[in-house]
């Protein structure tokens, strides 16, 4: 709850911060893939995935997945779909969240019933 409260403030995404560091570490492995599409036909040459996030150090990663999803949508709502730093959140939630959860949340977003604050 503390984390969600923190992200509801307007300036959070603009200052260079912790997420820029995470974004740069996450983007290293993706240097050889075009970063705007996850379903590109280019070959996977190297593996990379969502890095360790010290906000979620323990076994329960549920909030890591949920926060990444919510943060991505807040990021694109605030900054627009093509803002590059939002890619970090998108890749994180795609890697971490089960597809059935993503589909359910996407349906809720489209219907306007998603319970999180975007």
């Amino acid at each position: 709850m503390l984390v969600q409260g923190k992200f509801s403030r307007v300036n959070e995404l603009t200052r260079p911060n912790f997420f820029r560091l995470l974004w740069s570490s996450f983007s290293v492995g993706f240097a050889d893939l075009s970063s705007s599409h996850s379903h590109t036909m280019s070959e996977v040459q190297q593996l990379s995935t969502a890095p360790f996030d010290p906000r979620f150090p323990n076994q329960n990663q549920t909030r890591h997945c949920y926060s990444s999803y919510v943060d991505y949508h807040r990021c694109i709502r605030k900054k627009g779909e093509d803002y590059p730093a939002c890619e970090y959140f998108r890749k994180a939630y795609r890697s971490l969240c089960p597809n059935s959860w993503i589909e359910k949340w996407n349906d809720q977003m489209e219907a306007g019933t998603f319970p999180g604050k975007i």
Partner: protein
């Protein structure tokens, strides 16, 4: 996999499992020595006709048989704690796989790059080939690259299941609405088996897990050619 009458651990497939086995051997040695010593003393006590005239106030021997066990306990505790913290060491994984439990099969999702998703059902006994094992083989195995830190996020779509591979010393409950993280590194190629470890209905015993560990090149090849 275990063979019939196997009481011991399966051969390890990860460095942590090697450490666990070594610690187990170490603790078992201490236990065997203590049990043998005590057993021997009991037997000799019962089979002699001596009477102890100096039964009371044996201060020296009481100190000895307090200090030596204390020392043995420290001798067991130090590697135990070392291993306990070693198990929680975390290095950034290169691959994330989601393992979803269903009634009664597992499904695996590799979503880091391309969207790969498949179900893993047990092969029924009547459909087994001659070289396959009964009740633990599956149609689609979970493929992982060797010598790579892998993160598995375990969850469920219905009831509680539990995902485990003993050779990799990992087990986590698959709970609906929760993501449990396991990290491991497989240090040799091969097939490693596990079975659902939380009662989940009629076919709880018939939803096994098979991890197939292959070289990184073969893995990238598999990923890129997944239909």
């Amino acid at each position: 996999m275990s063979t019939w009458s196997q009481l011991s651990f399966q051969d390890s497939a990860s460095p942590l499992m090697e450490e666990l086995i070594m610690f187990h051997d170490h603790a078992m040695l201490v236990l065997t020595l203590v049990t043998t010593l005590v057993g021997y003393i009991i037997l000799t006590m019962f089979s002699n006709k001596f009477i102890d005239r100096f039964l009371l106030e044996g201060h020296l021997i009481e100190v000895i048989w307090t200090v030596i066990p204390a020392f043995l306990l420290i001798f067991i505790a130090l590697p135990s704690l070392h291993l306990l913290y070693l198990l929680d060491e975390y290095d950034n994984p290169s691959l994330t796989i989601k393992s979803m439990g269903h009634q009664w099969y597992w499904s695996y999702e590799y979503s880091d790059f391309l969207d790969i998703e498949f179900d893993s059902y047990m092969i029924p006994s009547k459909d087994l080939e001659d070289n396959q094992f009964r009740l633990i083989e599956v149609d689609n195995r979970m493929i992982v690259p060797m010598n790579t830190y892998v993160r598995i996020l375990v969850s469920s779509t219905d009831v509680i299941h539990s995902w485990t591979v003993p050779a990799l010393s990992v087990k986590a409950d698959a709970i609906p609405g929760r993501l449990n993280q396991l990290t491991f590194l497989v240090n040799r190629p091969g097939l490693f088996f596990g079975q659902c470890s939380e009662i989940c209905g009629a076919n709880h015993s018939f939803m096994p897990i098979v991890v197939e560990s292959i070289s990184m090149n073969s893995f990238l090849n598999w990923i890129n050619n997944f239909e």
